[in-house]
């Protein structure tokens, strides 16, 4: 049994973390983010603000992208959680991870796990049909190194692979149909 807060821990939960069942006792004030980065020693999930404002801690909870800093671990009993470590390994990368390498879709790498988990969630949702929609729907993940265009390239490539075609750069923005983000004419 793992104790997330040695002094006053207590609430038992069972989660499936990266495919493996974990029985934990966690104090009610411990966030999923601090549980992962602390006692679980899975620091791939990053802390960039601890306020749900930057997206660096994005993980997949039951397939949906979530900010781990906004989830208390005790609320996740029975949940299936995938972190960046569960998506792929350095020698066996997930297609999104490989696309991020190929497109240099990072610099410092700190927002990267969150960007990739968020992109995986985006693909699961199936709402993004165009580059403009990718940009809009990825806007919860900040990148201070400014790799945004490369990240969009990486996600577009993987989206194209999974659906058999590249999304249309100039398609109207269906996420916000009232206001199209028409790209500049070439």
């Amino acid at each position: 049994m793992l104790h997330a807060d040695s002094e006053r821990s207590g609430i038992p939960i069972v989660i499936t973390l990266n495919g493996k069942q974990e029985r934990l006792e966690v104090a009610p004030w411990v966030t999923l983010l601090d549980l992962l980065r602390g006692p679980m020693e899975l620091p791939g999930t990053k802390k960039g603000c601890d306020h749900g404002q930057c997206g660096a801690c994005t993980v997949l909870i039951d397939g949906q992208r979530m900010n781990a800093c906004l989830k208390l671990a005790v609320t996740l009993d029975g949940a299936e959680i995938t972190t960046i470590e569960g998506l792929g390994q350095p020698d066996k990368l997930h297609p999104l991870q490989q696309a991020f390498v190929d497109h240099d879709a990072y610099q410092c790498g700190y927002c990267t796990p969150g960007q990739i988990c968020s992109a995986a969630g985006l693909l699961n949702e199936g709402h993004a049909q165009s580059r403009a929609e990718i940009r809009e729907l990825m806007s919860g993940n900040l990148c201070r190194c400014g790799a945004y265009t490369n990240i969009a390239d990486a996600i577009e490539q993987v989206m194209g692979q999974s659906s058999g075609e590249r999304p249309d750069r100039n398609a109207p923005n269906k996420a916000f149909p009232g206001k199209g983000f028409k790209e500049a004419a070439e």
């Binding site: 990053k46 802390k47 960039g48 610099q107 990825m138 400014g146 790799a147």
Partner: protein
Amino acid sequence: MFNPSKIVGLPVSRVDGPLKVSGKAPYAAEHYEPGMLHGVVVLSTIASGKIRSIDTAMAEAFPGVIKIYTHENRPSAAWWDSKWQDSVAPPGSPFRPLEKPHVQFDGQPVAFVVAETFEAARDAASLVTVAYKEDKPETKLADVYAKSYEPKKKRSGIQPPPKPRGSPEEAFSGAAHKVSAEYVMEGEHHNPMEMFATTVLWENDKQLTVHDKTQGSQASRDYICNIFGLDPENVIVKNAYVGGAFGQGLRPKHQLFLAVMASLDLKRSVKVEMSRQEMFGLTWRPSSMQTVSLAADETGMLQSVMHHAVEATSRYEDYQETVVNWSGLAYKCDNAKLTYELAQVDMSTPGDMRAPGAATGVLALESAMDELASEIGMDPLELRVKNFIHFDQNDDKQLTSKALHACYREGSEAFGWDRRSAAPRSMRDGHDLVGWGMATGFWEAGMAQAEAKVRYAIDGKVTVSAAATDIGTGTYTILAQLGAEAFDVPIEAVHVAIADSSLPTTGVEGGSWTAASTGSAVQIAAEAVKATLLDMAQDMDNSPLADARPEEVVIRDGRLVLDVNSQVGIALSDILASKDLSSVEEPGKAGPDMMQMRKFVSYTHSAVFVEVKIDEQLGVLRVTRVVSAIGAGRILNPKTARSQILGGIVMGIGMALHEESMIDHRTGRIMNHNLAEYHVPAHADIADLQVIFVEEHDDKASPIGVKGLGEIGIVGVAAAVANAIYHATGTRFRHFPITIDKILESELTH
């Protein structure tokens, strides 16, 4: 000298990429040890005054708390200011955490809670209560502008403005065309995605291994050794992965001091990770007020350049950067007056932030150049081309290279600048006003002293080592490329050992110096290994290389061979075996060429073209297109190089439109100390960015022809955005950032 590349110059993917994308690259706070303690800082809630009392009783009683430090019980540390001054400290008295009851800035550490868990430390920190005697803070630059002064003591490495030349005032008053305007920029905070953190692994009273978020492991090591009287031999600082820094990590931060202090005091390992709010009490890009006056004759030739800048600094240090000098070397002008002053505010000391000084000064200069072009009725690009100069009039020095004409030409062609209609408000796309603006960018291409070691092993593995840092800039990758090319091995066979204070000495990762400096040192060390291998080969019986000179041999396919005839040579493994060696290692050292620097000076250049679209009814503004053409000498890796420029453009857009540390001047406190309210560009803000590297050969800027790329990408971007906004709207915005409230207050729909 340098073998034209097979792998150097290719768009190689980052060698650290697979680790970064799989969450396996450990940053400063991501090191573990059983029983490690956690520290959380309590921040001041006033900007100026004195702590009357601190009540820690409740916090101390909190389960899991080990110790609480305040100015009343902090263990002693060095007395002299000089011991606290880090490698890039400006003149003054560096901030000393928890030393005195005085509060000098909002968010100053006033207590430090150490506990068995992060949660216990955080919760206990919220129970510390502090009573203050509050003074009235001054944080608004405009309010202290009249008290500005020329800093008496200059900051090392920062050139003060040159003396005036010609008769700038007379030339201005008599000129056919003139503009004079004031530009205001609010302060910014770097906000790298990773927050500052330190993990101290305590071994004994004298020996520590420290993982620190820093742009220089040796700078952090020297800082803590000076302050705590430790032997640099016994302290190792590592910074394997740094989650962005942009200059904020050049000076050691309070978490390093506090983590080491607690570790030594408690004889335990300690981890301290800042909060995002805490990041706003650190180094920032100073707010500035600048006046630029430009005059030209009938034909558009510059007759006078006058640039005066006042920047904020703290009460305790005179932070200085090069703001106005750019205006004296950007264009040809024989009459120039450049002045730079500081004014003190009750805030933490500002510091270097991406293209420090240039990002600020060139913003004003290039905005004023656009205003002058309008005044003359000339195309803004044509005005710049007309006043081009291949010489530095500030220093009376020649330039090592300046491919700015190529930047103008290739950038404007890619952008389609010739289709621009000159009049403001003359281009539209539906409801949107369309504006096209441009600016020139400048940054110095410098080298710092750097050492490196290169080892070639009998199994064909190459090890490159130096204390250098990769803050996302691609250092791991370019050093691997240089090592691979020197020994003709695949990049996978090269191990890059950096980010460790015990490795050969380099400066901090800043100023766009690392590729030129450490890259050159690696190149020189690799040449030395080759020379040693040749010496050994010539000792061998019947050596086919007996008469070969070092410049005649190269390494190909694991053999040392004659460049002109690969058949003549010896296998490297045989050379090493002949001496019973398993490897050979040599040091290399590079630095600026002082003789050359008397005559030459080196800069990188850019031409930035920006398109904005502004909804005429709503005032919503989008940067829809940017083309940045860069002249920066030799590009070692176009893939990582391009990313650096993209990042500069994005931060430049932030500077133009988003970024502002908003201060409540009544209390002196920063109101938006979080990432929801301190706006940085997000995915939706960034559309189409194009980067062009123009051909630029430079054999003087550095031994490997590199000029550096970390800063040039941001310089000029904010001015080009502002100039595009003028072209779209017909309104000049001179107060940055140009947020929507300012656009709505203007007569957008006139």
